[in-house]
Symmetry: C2
Subunit: 439 residues, 2 copies
């Protein structure tokens, strides 16, 4: 274990991609290359009562890995081995620094895939995904990260090692510590290994893209797909503000075809028939739609979705919200976000995992402007209020981090927060693990 | 709230279907008919430091609901309303006493289904399923109870009410208290309501049954199905001992067709093609196989599986084990159980959720004989040891209850148990909720 104290290391590890800028820098950074480095760091931190901020690739969107003076960053991105890939068990054992897309690619060589696929999969780590219980596009059908984690290897706050869960698909011996740690944003223990469920790669995939005159029609079509008892593996919505940014970035003309796009993917041996059924459902809402089983054409149909966030980031600084609502409320949520944008004069783009009712309203401000005050922040707050008023949650998959803690009590209530703080104290009695985050 | 103290009520609530017989009876029984009954009972119990044993339909298989002198049983089977069924959100809100099959049937009227389907679904409650994180046949594809629980309404040990989770498909605000309570066997809180995920009923279903000369070949065929990257919704194995009991009970001649049966179901618009692919995989292992899309014929193919346990129970008293192993170890586990039976002279039948690697070796003794001592218990212990030696777990879906606690430390280790007891103390500082169970 070596504590890096130079300015460059401290600056590089100070925050994530949320747009949050702490007003001080962490005291130092440990770049772990083996589990012993983690054990030693936590023993040292416990002895010195020094807060530790675990960090993966720093792609978080809620400032869950932001660190400041008095804190030490524990960078786990160097623990990046795929330790085992057991195709016949459909199980992988990995270190936390493995990039999510790399694991998926390794599984692909055996006809398998790793289901969680946040938009950041190519640059985010499995450990970071576990910290936030990341979702993604495919979780419409295959569930979020928690549903793919069978067991964890942890280092506790005092440096002891602990394994949770199991190597088997099912298991109910004792409390589900694994699920408790998934999504706990580094506040309960440090993940140094994960046993993950892989799934059979589907025999066939078909992709459909539909264009709409307005985004509320697109949202209504998405809800209609769910109501029709269809189960796409991907069901994504992209609004006009995003399409304009994509067109500007790529020289495409998507916006001219309508004010919103739905991209739908079905998989399995019934993929073509399922996609045809989706087409019938969306047709009354859409201005046009097309489908394909060709992988290259499918990528083209998905391009508007994939290019959305980078295109928006090219036009200014962004704050990405992550509210989730019951699926039948999707159109109401989308039109509510539009009304907030109109009322506050703040530019808000919306990309949504429509199949889950999970919206990413993206507040876009001029480069260098602050999101966390003035009208942009008022707009962001109004979106949270909207989600809660529709029976939703303030975060579907990005986590609470530092930035969403102020709303947490409104959603959970004081009793729940007190109980959760009690649980944290059992894992971390000295309160050194990522204090001030998540709960 | 009314405490029933008559002998009949106390005898009826003293144990479950595990075969365990406590040597004393509980002091009394409260049959709750509303949430206030639960609140009042727990306030009273806290004030008097009286242990409370929550109970659903009493179909548990690990003595998780067994109660004795000094304890009071809280019977929740009277809280049996389906409060909401929101088809467009694919969500149901239910009280804990709803029978699992009744919820599934109610969902079916809207083209939906409730995925968890333990063999006891017709007689077990949703609340009991939540207590044990029950699995079933369909969890091969659709996951166990935890994957279908979005949120819970709880009464805490001191009588306070607390809601966990959410009404949405996704959500990561705060720690996952919902997953922690699922599978905790009534030791953390009393579940008085659940928000459950429903799923679209598949467009098509096809069923295949294959016969084998010996059970190890059947297990190998099951593993081969998984290895072939096929994803059946049901993949069940039934051995010769069970087939003989089924033949005796039903007058069938299944045993004459081979020493083991695999029953496989695939669903979705690709069901027929998937089942044909399963047929190709099992053919080299099997003596014969047939498939159908006719629901009545499918039920006939499934009959050997469904009739298995009742048929065995007709031949004697049973102790049902619930070990789970990595899926590639299924054949090794099945042959290991056979060897244990041969070595100890104890009759052991095996039914397995083969798709999950979850085996139910069923120790059968003469009516009235004790399972928990002598050779039958030695055989049961040997099965646990076998599972752990194969990287497995002692319980896949039935829970730990009272009967499996002695093995728990071997699987989890002392540090994990200590941590779990710390978590319990946060929820239940007086230790009045189902003490001595689960952990």
């Amino acid at each position: 274990m070596k504590l890096l104290e130079d300015l460059a290391a401290r600056e590089a590890a100070a925050t994530d991609r949320s747009g949050h800028r702490p007003d001080t820098l962490p005291d130092g950074v440990v770049r772990a290359t083996c589990v012993d480095d983690v054990v030693e760091t936590l023993r040292w931190a416990s002895a010195h009562r020094t807060p530790v901020v675990p960090r993966g690739a720093g792609t978080g969107l809620a400032a869950g890995a932001s660190a400041r003076a008095g804190e030490v960053v524990l960078d786990l991105s160097g623990l990046d081995r795929i330790v085992q890939l057991r195709p016949d068990d459909q199980v992988a054992v990995v270190e936390p620094g493995v990039l999510t897309a790399d694991l998926d690619a390794a599984a692909g060589e055996h006809g398998l895939f790793y289901a969680p696929d946040p938009a950041s999969a190519a640059i985010s780590t499995v450990g970071g995904n576990i910290a936030t219980n990341a979702g993604g596009l495919r979780c419409a059908k295959y569930g979020v990260t928690r549903e793919s984690v069978l067991g964890l290897d942890l280092v506790l706050a005092d440096g002891r090692r602990l394994s949770t869960g199991r190597q088997t698909v099912k298991g109910v011996a004792g409390y589900d510590l694994t699920s408790l740690v998934v999504g706990s944003e580094g506040t309960l223990a440090v993940v140094v290994g994960a046993t993950l469920r892989l799934r059979p790669r589907p025999a066939e995939t078909a992709t459909l893209a539909a264009h709409f005159d307005d985004v509320v029609a697109a949202a209504a079509a998405a809800s209609a797909i769910t109501s029709a008892r269809l189960q796409p593996s991907v069901l994504e919505l992209v609004d006009a503000v995003t399409l304009e940014a994509v067109d500007a970035a790529r020289g495409s003309s998507l916006r001219s075809r309508g004010a919103a796009v739905l991209v739908v993917q079905c998989d399995g041996r019934g993929a073509v028939a399922d996609t045809a059924a989706v087409g019938e459902v969306v047709a009354p809402f859409a201005t046009s739609w097309s489908s394909t089983t060709d992988p290259a054409e499918a990528e083209e149909l998905l391009a508007a979705r994939r290019a959305g966030l980078p295109a928006l980031e090219a036009t200014g600084d962004v704050f990405i919200e992550d509210v989730s609502v019951p699926r039948s409320k999707l159109a109401e949520a989308v039109s509510g976000v539009q009304a907030i944008s109109a009322r506050t004069g703040v530019r808000i783009a919306t990309i949504a995992h429509a199949g889950d009712g999970n919206l990413h309203p993206i507040v876009v401000v001029e480069r260098g402007a602050t999101v966390t005050e003035g009208p942009p922040w008022e707009a962001a707050c109004a979106v949270f209020d909207l989600a809660l008023s529709l029976g939703g949650t303030l975060t579907g998959e990005h986590g609470v981090g530092l930035l969403k803690r102020t709303w947490l009590r409104a959603e959970l209530g004081q009793d729940s927060l007190d109980l959760q703080r009690g649980l944290k104290a059992v894992f971390d009695p000295l309160g050194i693990l990522n204090p001030g985050k998540a709960i």
